[in-house]
Amino acid sequence: MKIDNDKRKMLRLLCFLLSALLVTTASAAVYNYVYLQASPIGVEVPKVRFVSGLDAVSTMGTNDTYAKITTMAGWPNATRVYEDALRIENLDNVDHTCDLMFDSWSGNTANVTYIYVKIFNATAGGTQQGSTLSVTAENSTGPFNLPATTIYCVQWEIKWNGDALSTYTVDVALKLKVT
């Protein structure tokens, strides 16, 4: 078999390149395995928390990552607005994107005309952040930016049907997605 020096060198180089490509892939895969093995799920301090507003009383959960507004009531055939029902505070030094989403609701839901939830950057004269969350439509505010160390207000607008009785109640659960 006749193979001159240059051809042999080229073939050897080709083999080295192929082999190098494969070894690099395999070693990166091993690094990936070791990395996954060394990355358990840890605990971080919450970056965003709930704060009670001035217009309603709220019960806070541990680390203020849960809030239950207990004193809101609507009027039949009239809109009642709670401008400062609850507040959302970014404790972090960087901005976070938040999205307030409908989770579930129960009770006399058929007698509710609408419940709107809006996010504002100030209690009075503020600009609305994201779009309006409609509990009856079961949608979300969409993503909005919560700047570092900033507090936003959550406004509730409640309207019952005209035939709603004072014994009627609804429970609404919302969830806040923070990224």
Partner: protein
Amino acid sequence: MAAPLLPEFIGVFGIDVFLVLSILACLFDFPVFLQYVYHISAYVGFLQLWIGYVFAFSEETRFLVCLAYLVIGLANIVFVNGYIGVRDRKVLWTTSYLCCVTVPSTLISFSAISWYVNRVAISLPSLPLISPEVIAAILLLCGIILAISVILSAFRPESHSPPVSKKRKGGER
């Protein structure tokens, strides 16, 4: 997501150093034996990574082994740089090698070691998971390629130059 580096990062870099060395040794016409020594050293580096992963040695041990491996690789880079300078005596080649291989690899190595020691969080791209069976198959393929390469290198080239005829003293009359 940014996370502190693992000692295996230094090992992976050491493997890359040896692979580059084998390719450069081939390009610069180093002895064939040396080219294979460098290439097999890269395999040895991979094996030590794999053994460290399977037997789950302590992080300190893995770091020391990977560090020693990388230091050997860097020492060889410096040696090759010197060898090119002494053997070929070409300033351009030596300087190019120094600027393109020796200095960058040394700088990156020291940076990687410093990042690891100081627990600096580095964001690495997320890689797809490859199953251990595929990794074993890749290594087998590497072995086959290397064997083909060795077989090809074993063939001696036939000389195409005509045989030298002895000149008669005094020349032809």
